[in-house]
Symmetry: C2
């Protein structure tokens, strides 16, 4: 009966396109469902309905619910990674401006909104019991931390800051971001993205006292 099918590309290498359409529709629907109902209450049936495919298909397409969840986490992780990778790769930009852009990104509404955060935390909460979740989260973390430390050491050189090692600054920053994201989820009235961003900027200002771009 009624099918809303996407027009096909020519042919030969059959598809990559409309395969991806359903693939992506399901991943999006999964993330949306987790955001709306929580991981505990996310069923294949809910996801399939939201993605407008049959329940059987959703399972068939990803082999298992577990695999669908892993793919969704991977997608979320990649999406976040792209956003900061872009900033780290920008050319001709002062390290302090770069780190400010990183901070802005971490508290942009695209990244730090209650839906995304709730999905992250849902996966975090299972990390201890699902090695595959842990692996995805750790891989992300590692690269981010590495680039962050490099950036901070550039700043340390310029600003002639000796008190803190780049690792320490990177670690505290990262922890603060995670903690603030959690707080955005709990109490978005108080913890607006602006509020959180400014808190972090002030933290940097306390480290680099002579630098007023953090103000």
């Amino acid at each position: 009966m009624m099918k809303a099918l996407v027009n096909k590309k020519s042919s030969e290498q059959a598809s990559e396109t409309e395969i991806s359409v359903n693939h992506q529709k399901l991943i999006d629907a999964t993330i949306e469902t987790i955001a709306k109902r929580g991981l505990a209450d996310t069923t294949i049936a809910h996801v399939a309905k939201r993605a407008k495919v049959s329940q059987g298909y959703a399972n068939f397409r990803f082999n298992s619910k577990d695999n669908l969840l892993i793919s969704s986490l991977q997608y979320l992780s990649d999406e976040y990674k792209k956003s900061w990778q872009k900033i780290f790769e920008e050319k001709n930009i002062d390290p302090i401006d770069r780190i400010i852009r990183i901070i802005q990104n971490d508290f942009s509404s695209k990244i730090a909104n209650r839906n995304k955060i709730s999905v992250w935390i849902a996966f975090y909460s299972e990390v201890k019991f699902r090695p595959s979740y842990l692996a995805i989260c750790q891989r992300q973390d590692e690269i981010y931390s590495q680039q962050m430390e490099k950036l901070v050491s550039e700043i340390n050189n310029i600003a002639n800051q000796k008190e803190f090692t780049p690792k320490e600054i990177s670690e505290t920053y990262h922890s603060m971001v995670d903690g603030l994201w959690q707080r955005i989820l709990f109490d978005p009235k108080i913890y607006t993205n602006e509020f959180c961003k400014n808190l972090v900027l002030k933290y940097f200002k306390s480290i680099y006292v002579n630098e007023d771009r953090f103000a």
Copy 2:
């Protein structure tokens, strides 16, 4: 058949004691089960087995699984609260020493261990969908923040620190602790309790530059 029953108190106001025994056994078992298997995989049957009562009883005793979970979160919350409340109530102690004790408490092995943290995060992850979880977490937070701000303002007076408001310091501290707890869960090899505690102490040292007790 075999029962390991606890000797009773005399009588009249029937019990409060042995009622509490089963009550507490079930709450302990719930927390342990969540720590070992994750919230998603915590069933009444698992909890009952661990508490050495029948499955039917576990449900009967708390009326519902949901209620058992809420009671367990409340217990966890109270336990944590007691630990810091004690420090805030200590007499004849210098505010800086007091805050150091608070930090030590937040990274003591009794509080910041992987089991407890995983249970906290499990509940956090559902906060958006369960008003009762949120209420418990928020109440905790509010009192803690309030006392913390008061303590910080005492320190600010002594240390003559103007850059940061007590609220800002309290917020960043709290976020950092939450973030670091998360990291202890992810990678306990790197994020030892010592490591985390020292990171936070260093943060305070950067705020109160002239105070060397934070070193």
